[in-house]
């Protein structure tokens, strides 16, 4: 922008730039506000009782302050107490749904992470017949939309007698993820061979080298994959709705859908619904708060899914 040989031009360019810059910052800040206000509104609503909320529907701050909505949807209050607070009277047990969501998500996370890195390591380092052909087949899995396998997988789960079990929700993504294998293979291909050779000379087995040499130096890519697995499994709705809607195994997203359809049409239980919604949003937001930079970088990779 500083072109000394032509001061007039540079001045006008400078002015245009700074005026444009104010508009640009204005647009960016507007987008941030549009992003944050609905999230704040969800929290604000969850902190007031339905009665307080209806009395003062516009106040930016919570029109009351109580955590009763949370204890109510967690199932810590009796049905009578809940109804007094504007609940529909049916028992809601988000404490359990939260636990179920964690069980499913963490199981998928552990399985997919371990088995995908095993596969990826073999594709990157070991020689075996049909290696390229199998890998190419895996890549086709990236291209085919989920709807194609949805009905057959549902029938499979039913015929296994797995309806309304945790394994029904965990199994399909437990052993295999084309994206995770593809992504980790790329990383393993880039690792220097020498460390692994040193491990072999020390008499370690292939698995020993993989477990004690390769995995410990793969923290960042494993974290990236872990974050993406967590988000997609935690947020999933359709599959758990189909195979795990029963109370005992119900995950949070499915429970929120049922809560929503049970709430009375005329006077919906907004405070309770928003308390449940906050619980559903919490892990994603917490993950961002704790490892923001890593999450952002992971998402930039996720595009290549």
């Amino acid at each position: 922008m500083t072109n000394a040989s032509n001061p007039a031009q540079s001045r006008s360019a400078g002015r245009r730039f700074s005026a444009g810059k104010i508009v640009a910052w204005g647009a960016l800040i507007l987008m941030i506000i549009i992003t944050l206000v609905p999230l704040w509104w969800m929290i604000r609503t969850s902190l007031a009782t339905n009665r307080e909320m209806i009395a003062d529907p516009k106040s930016f701050l919570p029109p009351g302050f109580t955590t009763l909505n949370y204890s109510r949807v967690m199932g810590f209050l009796s049905v009578e107490e809940s109804r007094a607070l504007g609940g529909s009277g049916t028992a809601i047990n988000f404490f359990q749904y939260l636990r179920n969501s964690f069980i499913v998500t963490l199981a998928v996370l552990a399985g997919q992470l371990f088995f995908s890195s095993l596969s990826a390591y073999a594709f990157a380092r070991l020689k075996f017949p049909f290696r390229e052909k199998i890998f190419f087949l895996y890549l086709t899995a990236l291209m085919v939309p989920g709807i194609v396998t949805l009905i057959p997988n549902y029938i499979l789960i039913r015929s296994l007698g797995w309806m309304n079990t945790f394994q029904a929700m965990i199994a399909p993504t437990f052993l295999f993820s084309a994206f995770a294998i593809f992504f980790l293979r790329q990383f393993f291909l880039g690792i220097n061979h020498e460390l692994e050779e040193a491990g072999k000379l020390d008499g370690a087995s292939v698995f020993g080298v993989f477990w004690r040499v390769v995995l410990p130096m793969s923290g960042p890519p494993l974290a990236t994959i872990a974050i993406l697995i967590f988000i997609s499994t935690w947020n999933d709705y359709m599959w758990p709705l189909l195979v795990g809607s029963k109370e005992e195994v119900r995950v949070l997203t499915v429970a929120l859908g049922i809560f929503r359809s049970q709430t009375p049409q005329g006077s919906p239980d907004w405070s309770g619904l928003m308390a449940g919604a906050v619980l559903g949003a919490l892990p994603g937001v917490l993950m961002f708060a704790l490892m923001g930079k890593r999450v952002i970088n992971s998402i930039q990779f996720s595009g290549y899914r």
Partner: protein, 308 residues
């Protein structure tokens, strides 16, 4: 994605035999065995079964019978199918252009103004939250009586809008909700693409006295094209599969205004258990998405970058 070129077939055969006898082969298969089982059980075999189902009258009650192309003929004759397809295309058209333009704008803003992680993080926050939560949140925001948006409208002296309750505005509202969730995420992917454009390109443009607008169209957009095409393909494919938001908010209503193709499949496959029929619709959807992807790749020459 470099797949090693195969050696000539002669040496391959002998290598192949040698490898079988070596311990490494068995070990390698042991490494990939769990993944292979998962791939075959929940992806490859189901994909083939899905295709086979689409030629049967499978309904989970009686023995499935091969009925040839009967399902496909019935689907093409069903006006509800065409309605679902039209509604889905309507949604994609309401969603994708606005979302993409906003995301490009946002990505350029982030790239030019600030590298701050917090800004990017805040903008991507809605994407970290489940669809179901986002749908509930906006159901509340758009509530005709107490919702914040209508409160603001009445404060400004305008009429209340029954966003999700009116057939003419329901789909636009759903599109708006999903734009809110995805715009920051899409911008982040494009931002990553912008970061790969060499700084010298902008310096050269500045020396030539190009305006910001001209620089955008002459430098930024052409160089961003490969990433943009990729983002467009994945977001269009994702858009065709809209389900969660509708399942929570409108359930296909009002008056079938949001009865999208996924809802149609869900209804036939899992509510009426017409699995054969549902599979056939899934196959048709797969063909549609495949065609769109191929057309887009052809039109845009996505695999070549203008940088070369």
């Amino acid at each position: 994605m470099t797949i090693n070129p195969s050696p000539s077939s002669n040496t391959r055969t002998s290598n192949w035999l040698k490898m079988w006898t070596k311990g490494e082969t068995w070990l390698a298969y042991l490494f990939i065995l769990p993944g292979l089982v998962g791939f075959l059980t929940f992806f490859a075999i189901p994909a083939v079964r899905g295709l086979l189902f689409s030629f049967t009258n499978a309904d989970m009650v009686s023995e499935a019978q091969w009925i040839g192309t009967q399902n496909f003929e019935n689907i093409l004759k069903d006006e509800n199918f065409w309605h679902s397809l039209a509604v889905t295309v309507q949604y994609v058209l309401l969603n994708i252009p606005l979302q993409t333009v906003l995301a490009i704008g946002l990505a350029v803003l982030m790239n030019r103004l600030t590298q701050n992680m917090l800004v990017r993080g805040v903008l991507v926050l809605p994407w970290l939250i489940p669809n179901v939560v986002v749908a509930l949140l906006w159901l509340w925001m758009l509530d005709p009586q107490l919702g914040l948006i209508n409160q603001i409208l009445t404060t400004l002296g305008m009429d209340r809008v029954p966003f999700l309750g009116n057939p003419s505005s329901a789909m636009a509202s759903i599109a708006g909700i999903n734009i809110w969730r995805h715009v920051g995420y899409t911008a982040l992917l494009l931002f990553a693409g912008l970061q790969t454009i060499p700084k010298e390109m902008y310096e050269a443009a500045a020396i030539d006295g190009a305006t910001e607008v001209r620089t955008f169209f002459a430098v930024t957009l052409p160089l961003l094209r490969p990433v943009l095409v990729f983002v467009l393909i994945t977001s269009i494919i994702g858009s065709f599969q809209i389900f969660d938001t509708i399942a929570i908010t409108t359930k296909g209503g009002p008056v079938d205004a949001t009865r999208v193709i996924y809802w149609y499949i869900y209804n036939f496959g899992f509510e009426r258990f017409k699995m054969g029929y549902g599979s056939a619709v899934a196959v048709i959807l797969f063909l549609i998405l495949g065609t769109i992807t191929i057309i887009q790749l052809r039109l845009s020459r996505a695999n070549t970058s203008d940088l070369d």
